[in-house]
Every structure is written in C-alpha cells, then in structure tokens.
Amino acid sequence: MRPYIDKKNKMTQQIYLGLFIIFFIFSLLQVGILDERIFQAFSRVENLLKGMVPPAISEPIDVAGAAVESLQVAVMGTLWGVVFSIVLAMFAAKNVSPHISISYAVKAFAAFVRAVPALIWALLFIVAIGLGPTPGILALAVNSIGMLMKVYAEAIEEIDTGIIDALKATGASQFQVVMQGIIPSIMSIFISWSIFRFDINIRYAAVLGVVGAGGIGWELVRASRVMAYDEVLGITLVIFGMILLAELVTRFLKDRADMATLKAME
C-alpha cells in the first residue's frame, strides 16, 4: 500500500506543479512581458539613466517642504492609528471585551479596513473631505487601525489570566484592570508593533501624494509627467534619504528604551 500512496502523492504534486506552470505561462502572456519592449529594455534603461544622471532638484525648497510634510503625515497617522487601536483592542480581545459579539464585530471591521489598501483609503478620503494632508493622515490612521488592532488584541488575549483575576479579586474596576494589569503586560509587544507600523507608514506617506494627498509623492508624479528624468531620480533619492532617516530615529528610540532596561538590570 505504501509505495502506491507515495506514488499517488508524487503524482498529485506533479499535477499541481504542472497546473502552476501552465497558469504562470498564461499569466506571462497576459501581462505582455514577452513584448518587444522587454527586448529593448537595455536601450530604454540606458536612455532613462542618461536622462537621470546627474540627479537634480529644480525647486529644493518645495521638495524639502513636501518631504517634511510626508514625515509629519506619517507621525500623525501612526499616532491616531495607535490611539484608536488601543481603545478598540480592548473591545476586540475576547478576555476583556464586554460581550463576545462586540469582539467579533470589531474584529470583522478590522479585517475589512486592513484588506483595503492605504492608497485606496486615501483616494476615498480625498473625495470625502478634500485635498491636503488631512485625508492622508486619516487614511494612514484607518489602515493602521486594521493591522494594529489585530496584533494588540492578540497580545491581550495571550496575557496570563491570573493577572486579571488577581486584580479583580482586589476589587479593581474595569478601568483599573486595564491600566494596571493589561497595559503593563502588553507594553513591549505594543511598542515594537507601533514602531514597525511607523516604518510602514513612512513608506505609505511617501507615495500618498500619487493620489493627491500631499507630501513628496506628488512632486515625484509631477516630475515624471513632464519627463524630467533627472528630477525623478533626485526626488527618489530624497525619499530614500527620508526613509533611512526615519528608520535611524526609530532604531535610536528602540535602542535607548532597551538600554535603559539593561542598565537598570545591572
């Protein structure tokens, strides 16, 4: 029996692999990657690079302002995302939620908000409340809520029920349980995920301008529309620097927090 089963399993695998390859080739044809343009790739990229080097920025003040705005949008989006996620996570976690149906409702909301990409949210917020940084902030906040609420709720669900029971036994109110029992237990998970989300938000903030939500993305689209290749590269480098800078700052903050704990442990 055994060799037969092995043979069957192997055959199933081969069939799946075959189907995958057929689907892949079909996709290749659909995407049009075997286009004549791909064979001109070298000359096209060469042209592009010739136009790009040396990178230039024609309006440094505007670009710098847009980069700063992107960073600010990311900070604000993360701030509100974190604030609302904490509150909603208290309702989403099964062990602290007032009722189980509320928990499911909040989690379903989070799943939907998470599945719609941030840029689509930005597009919708622009239609709903107009141009500027505010739709960008709200879009990032909403998209962050989807992800952060899930991880916060999971962290809360995994904490030791003994802690909560002990607090309840002392006659603590629901608010006191949250402040003294839950928040200290999830603090480290909370910090690392919030920082991670900030890194994601920086990247989103850099591209939000593509749909008109302010920031450096708009400058990039503008430059690419007028075929100013050197400016495209210049602005891309600014975005690169901006993301690196933000990552350095978050790493510094994280290291500093860890260092303090280590120092106190000595």
Partner: protein, 281 residues
C-alpha cells in the same frame, strides 16, 4: 553572571534590606529618566507634526462623519452592472502579482545566496549584494512603478517589473537571513563526502532552506496582490486604473464594486496561499 542574578541566588540578609531598597530606587530612577527622555522626544515629534499639518481633533470627527456620509450616500449601493468591466483588470492584477512574484523569487535566490555570508563566494560580493537589496527595499513599489512607467510606457509590463524589483528587496533579505541561520554541520557533512557545489546546495542547503523559501515566497504573493491593486493608480496596469477612472468620473457606485473586488481578490489570494502553505510545509 550579572549582579542581578547574583542577588537572586544569594539569600537576603536582614541588615542589607535597606541597601537593596535604595538600589531598587536607583534603578527605578534610571528607567524613569529614560522613559521621560523618550516620551519627550515622541511628544516633540507629535507637536511638530501636529502644527506642521495644521491638524485639529475636530478633523477626526468631521472626517469620520464625511466619510460615513460619503459611503452611505455615494458609494452604496454598489452598481453591480460594472462587474464585467472590472473582471478583466482584476484578473490582470492576479497575473501581475504572480509574474512579479516569480521574477522576484528567481532573482532573490541569486541575490540571497550571494548576500548570505556562508554561501557567498567572497565577503565583498556579500556586501555588494546586501547593499543592492537594501536599496531596492528602501524604495516603495509604487515609486519603482512611476520610474518604470516612464521607461516602459503605460500598461501591466511596468507594474510587473516594479513588483519584481521591490520584491527582490524583501525576498533577497529574507532568503539571505534564512540561509545565514542554517546548520553549517549538515552542509559540511555533505561536502565531506566529496560532493560538488551543486550537490552541496541541493542536498545540504536546500532541505534546510525550503521552509523559509516557501513561506516567504507566499508572503510576497500576499503583498503583491495589495501592491498590484494600487499600481493601476499610476497607470501601471491592474484594477486600480479602472477604479481611479470611475472615481474621477464621479461614478462612485461603480467604484464601490471595484473596492469590493479588491477586497475579495485579497481575501481569495490570502486564502489560497494559506492553503498552499499548509500543503507544502
């Protein structure tokens, strides 16, 4: 052994308790001071961002209210007659993600092997590969899309290449990290039998690498479908292009079909990748 561990091991002597209390207070002070500095930095960042973007708490309320009004009056009910128009772009999004994933997997295997210290030919090559990977990762897919649309024209080709390029940044790093963590003993054992480079890779490295390889590649597929859905906004093919067309023409009820289809696409792809992951691992 750190001093803390020593304290835990040695029994507490009565006359030393006041000293220990002082020590505890000193430690608490260190942590408190550090926390204050951190919170001050964060508060400064937030104030800077708050004033810079002219934000006000009222925006949250008005934003939510406007959004709710927009959703219930303009977006709903979805006009499902637009479904046919969205089907082709939706499928194109899937094709783009798949091809983008395969491109990034192929190149990431190469860059990953070159970037991992234990499989690379030379430390200089490892360093260069890491640098290339880091550069590709730091720039979002959408920005690669903008640049590639300039080079290759509008259409799914630019979007697919953008997905592939940004994918190398993510998968290359992941593969290199997985490779660096494999057990060198197994590789050495295969090498000791006189195996060639390819045999060593196939018999010593691949079995340990497989799990991480499959998991990360499927994760990339999940990411790609999200990226591909918005690449259309810059004309790089896929469902986003049709969606933006509808929004620009104020056809919100048709646009809501597009949003629902993006949602469904993401769920279907995530479900499928989860099933494949279960089967393969």
């Amino acid at each position: 052994m750190s001093s803390l561990a020593k304290q835990i091991d040695t029994p507490v002597e009565e006359n030393k308790v006041p000293d220990m209390y002082k020590d505890l207070q000193r430690r608490k002070k260190v942590i408190l001071k550090n926390r204050l500095v951190l919170w001050a930095i964060i508060a400064a960042l937030v104030t800077w961002a708050w004033t810079g973007t002219n934000f006000s708490i009222a925006f949250i309320y008005t934003g939510t209210a406007n959004m709710a009004a927009f959703i219930f009056t303009d977006l709903l009910p979805p006009d499902f007659s637009a479904f046919g128009r969205y089907l082709q772009p939706a499928l194109q999004t899937v094709y783009m993600s798949l091809v983008g994933m395969v491109i990034s997997v192929i190149f990431s295997i190469f860059f990953g092997f070159m970037a991992a210290k234990n499989t690379s030919f030379h430390p200089a090559i490892a360093f260069t590969s890491r640098a290339i990977i880091a550069f590709l990762r730091a720039i979002p897919a959408l920005i690669w899309g903008i640049t590639l649309v300039v080079a290759f024209g509008l259409g799914p080709l630019a979007g697919t290449l953008a997905l592939g390029l940004s994918g190398i940044g993510i998968l290359g790093k992941a593969f290199a990290d997985v490779l660096e963590e494999i057990d060198q003993g197994q590789v050495d054992a295969v090498k000791a039998t006189g195996a060639s480079w390819f045999q060593t890779m196939g018999q010593g490295v691949w079995p340990q690498f497989k799990t991480g390889f499959v998991a990360w590649s499927l994760y990339k597929m999940d990411l790609n479908i999200r990226e591909a859905a918005v690449l259309g906004l810059i004309g790089a093919g896929g469902i986003g292009y049709t969606l933006q067309g509808n929004i620009n023409l104020f056809q919100y009820q048709q646009a809501s079909v597009g949003i629902l289809m993006i949602f469904a696409l993401i769920l279907i792809v995530e479900y499928t990748t989860a099933k494949i992951r279960e089967r393969l691992l």
